[in-house]
Amino acid sequence: MKSLSSLKLHFLVCLMGAIACLSSASAATHPVSGEKLAAEQVFTYRMAAEPPSIDPQLVEDVEGSAVARDLFEGLLTQKADGSLAPGVAERWELNPAKTIYTFHLRKNARWSNGDAVTAHDFVYAWRRAVDPKLASPYAGYLELTTLKNVGAVIRGERPTSALGVTAIDDYTLQAELDAPLAYFPTMLVHATTMPTPRRVIEQHGDNWTRAGNLVGNGAYLLTEHVLNERMVRVRNPLYWNNQQTILDKVIGLIINDESQAYNRYQANELDKTEVPTGQFRRLQKERPLETFSSPRLCSYYYMFNLNKAPFDDQRVRQALSYAIDRDIITNNILGAGQIPAYTFTPGSTANFSVPDVALASMSRNDRIKTASALLAEAGYGPSRPLKTTIFYNTSEGHKKIAIAISQMWKQRLGVQVTLQNQEWKTFLSTRGSGDFEIARGAWCGDYNEASTFLDLMRSGSDQNDMRYKNERIDQLLAEARTLADPNPNYTEIENIIAAEAPIIPIYHYTGVMLLKPYVKGWPHQNVEANWYAREMYITEH
């Protein structure tokens, strides 16, 4: 049964819709926890911006990814704690050489138009993601997976059919990698790898993601999309696990201004929003049951331009790193549970154990003493003070941190710092062209594994604005891809970073949000902040 006639389909949708309504009306308690459920299962949340796209292969931002996770389901998905769970793939196996993954797809997965979700849909989607004609900004993501021929396809040297993904039959998908990659399954949670419906895309072209046109295989359907105003999803009766879904409707309201979003949260127009900057402590006191702070897979750091003297001198870089008191920044300036950073990779990263970096355990006095000694050794002191400029993109928060750091450097080392803020795109251009000495940086992991951070230190990385080169790191990174336990490699890399200080890790981000106490099932432990509406429910209130 490849496709149902429209009449049959219509009937089926109505019937299943009716069953869904009946079951949610009668099931007044949560099947596991036994909590009383609200009659109206609607979740309304703030979206900080209109997403550039909700097309899985084009999604590039947090808000768009959240919508895509409701509308589509990839091979694998996540449990509340962020660990892997079967999605469309029920199970998978790996060949002895660890380069070929074979995924076995569930036979009851359907598109919202009734078609079966098959291995061909994944082949189509993955080829589409790297197709130069689609020109997805996330094509590079698939490049990280080292699927066979991925680079050549993106460069247009090989046809998309050369990509290392094959449908063995309707329900068996094979992915072939150039080299073993232990965390390949983890990477399949990302929207870029979610299936997309070929016939619908060919029929509607760029307009296929409009409400009414969009056909998905996720737990929800897009019913309304008003640009820059709202995105509404209702549950998809054809979703294979629809019986387990409780939440009927998800409304995303696009509200750019965070304080306005907070006002609307106060007026009960929203069930979830972010804590406005600088308000965490106050709100934690006022609304202890609704204010949450949880670690994120993101790091805030300063980078040096290693091509510019005196920052080609390791001693200078280290001295500046030692003289920064991270605790003051996290406690006194940020104050929302952020974690002082001494390594680039956040401690919350899966399977990553934070190495003991010397700097982390030193007392403040020792750090300052070491810093002064290092700087003096490099030839800077009261008679010849070090002068430099910190570049950051215009923002109150970045400014406060830059002021604090410049004060620490001035008081402790006599360094004279100029602060230079620039509008975002101008800043990126400055940083990318290497026209800086010290610049602010931030990085969020694409997948939950340390390499998503450490790859920035690779000499050829597109993100390596420091122009940092260390052959040992390149070698350790290449090797780590194939190891069952890459942690020793990561520890060594972090130790090299700490010693050579191409960057100064400053803090690891936390996500701070307000969530109404009746909203349950929010995955607070998921460091990637990937939430799935199908896991959530509203209790009686």
Partner: protein, 307 residues
């Protein structure tokens, strides 16, 4: 008159072309591009994207392709930021919204502004004058980015009378706060121009003659004074109208109305070239159109003006 209109419309074409070329060059000379981000794209990926949007071509060719797209198909190109939307889509979805709240803001601002101005002029240097000018100035010293949060705190958070934002197809309860916030920022200007122009007219000889003839005061004001006094007001109203119907970034961002006002700032920050061009051309054309309308209205109001 007809030849005047035709002449003005003919001049409009090179004017708009000049606007297009100037903004195109200015925009492309700004550092960074639409596809730069915290995550730098691999060069091959960036190359594909630039090819897709024609950014790999020389600038003069890009301008040519862009202009010919507008002329032949009225196509303002795809948005670089919103992947599945064209500039036509963005304007088609946003402009009706700003048109509604902008129109009502204009009606409120001009009715209240002109009335306050007339009252102030008639009761020159007395308490109604001070009250009217005071009210208008209060509106202008509270910029709409201060006004908007105050309104929300009062009507949404404390009184719970109005929804804090959204549009929902333009239902009345969603329009009230955006209109108040937008109208008040134009109110002061309209009041002050009306007041000073009315004062001037009231002091002129033909009004003195009318008074001397013993005409009733309301007759003098409505029949004789108001029309000439409105001439300078009209000039500013034409531009205010364009300003209001193209919305405001504060209103759109704060009240999530979904209008096109937000694109003026966001598109520039995102380097969304085609959207910047689209809204620039829209405002440019509307400005030219309304200036022309104002001039036609001049001739209608003031018999001394002939084209």
């Amino acid at each position: 008159m007809l030849s005047f209109i035709l002449r003005r419309l003919a001049i409009a074409i090179p004017t708009i072309l000049l606007i297009i070329i100037l903004s195109f060059v200015l925009m492309h000379s700004a550092p960074g591009g639409p596809f730069s981000g915290e995550r730098s794209l691999p060069p091959e990926v960036l190359a594909n994207i630039e090819q897709k949007y024609g950014l790999d071509k020389p600038l003069y060719q890009q301008i040519f392709v862009y202009v010919s797209g507008i002329v032949t198909e009225f196509d303002f190109g795809p948005s670089f930021k919103y992947k599945n939307q064209s500039v036509n889509d963005l304007i088609a979805s946003g402009f009706p919204v700003t048109l509604v709240y902008g129109f009502w803001s204009f009606v409120c601002a001009s009715l209240i502004g002109i009335s306050l101005g007339v009252i102030a002029a008639l009761k020159h240097n007395s308490w109604p004058d001070y009250a009217a000018t005071g009210t208008a100035i209060l509106g202008s010293v509270l910029p709409n980015f201060v006004m908007a949060p105050l309104l929300v705190l009062l009507f949404t958070v404390y009184l719970n009378w109005l929804p804090g934002g959204g549009w929902e197809g333009g239902q009345i309860q969603f329009i009230i706060m955006p209109v108040i916030a937008l109208a008040t920022s134009y109110l002061a200007g309209i009041t002050r121009i009306t007041r000073s122009s009315m004062l001037e007219v009231l002091g002129s000889n033909f009004i003195r003659t009318a008074r001397a003839k013993g005409l009733p005061p309301h007759h003098i004001i409505l029949r004789h004074a108001l029309k000439p006094a409105l001439l300078p007001v009209l000039t500013s109203l034409g531009l205010s109208f364009v300003g209001m119907i193209t919305g405001s970034v504060v209103i759109d961002q704060y009240f999530s109305t979904g209008g096109i006002g937000q694109h003026f700032v966001n598109a520039a920050l995102n380097r969304d070239y085609s959207v910047i061009m689209g809204v620039t051309i829209l405002v440019g054309s509307l400005t030219i159109l309304f200036n022309l309308l104002v001039e036609i209205l001049y001739a209608w109001i003031d018999p001394r003006i002939r084209y």
